[in-house]
Amino acid sequence: MSGVPPSQDPELLRRLLRAKDRMDAASHENWPVRRLARVSGVSEAHFARSFKQAFGIPPHRYLLTRRIERATALLRDTDLPITEIAFDTGWESLGTFGRTFRDITGESPSAIRVRGRAAAQELGRVPACIVSAAHRPDLTIAVSEKRRRVAGDINGSSEKEVL
């Protein structure tokens, strides 16, 4: 497939934005496509594709970036135990949280906690609500794909892709 996809109707985009906003507001909740499609007033069949075309990322992956962003902020700004942060941000197990966190950020939650605190001072003049978005991970490929590529590197694969 090549070329520029047909532009989307701004009215549809505004409704898709509402689904994105809802995930932002409650990223710890479950967001099955059915629920998101209802928020946007589009069919389940069209929702995921329309969302990806609008925002450049599938809805489920977008939700992961928001959860990681929130977990990162909680690691930096609170003394909550990591287990509690995992459950607060929507994961069903500590193991899945740790693994996904590492896959996406390249670091463990505890390492991010130490580093985030050291860096937090520098952004003191920017509104905190805006700062957190600046720390959102840029998840341009699927987590499974990222995992596969890392595994490839460990196995001595000579194939290097620019991420």
Binding site: S7, P10, L13, L17, A25, F55, P127
Partner: protein, 135 residues
């Protein structure tokens, strides 16, 4: 004050809808509303800020070609325009008041280091943060 920023504009999808939102829901006042054919210069003001106007502009002819206008409408509808910040004395009270008027909030009031902030969007998709600063 004779020098400084006087007008900053937002793109909105519809003048009348934006006017109703900023005036009736947010409590801004109309500063200027003049038309010339299809063109409309519409600015509103925060009641406590007489030296600053917020322009509410629709992308389109005669200023922009149809394709550019369509792109801008899409960008606004995706919420991709830069953040806007509204300072308030009492974020929670303002949240209750605006929500009762039907403002679409994207984030409930949250305490952050003594500041309280909430988020809402205008009907077009422009995102606002409403911040009560620590004092």
């Amino acid at each position: 004050m004779s020098q400084g920023v006087e007008v900053v504009g937002l793109y909105v999808r519809d003048h009348d809808e934006a006017l109703a939102f900023y005036v009736e829901k947010l409590g801004f006042r109309v500063h200027t509303d003049v038309r010339n054919g299809d063109y409309r210069w519409l600015t509103v003001q925060h009641p406590d800020q007489p030296s600053f106007q917020l322009g509410l502009f629709t992308p389109g002819p005669p200023v922009l070609d149809a394709e550019t206008a369509q792109t801008l409408r899409a960008i606004v509808a995706k919420g991709a325009m830069p953040p806007l910040v509204l300072n308030v004395d009492d974020c929670r009270a303002a949240y209750d008041r605006l929500r009762a008027r039907g403002v679409e909030f994207t984030q409930e009031p949250v305490d952050r280091y003594g500041n309280v902030d909430a988020g809402f969007r205008d009907p077009s998709g422009n995102g606002w943060k409403m911040i009560q600063a620590r004092r």
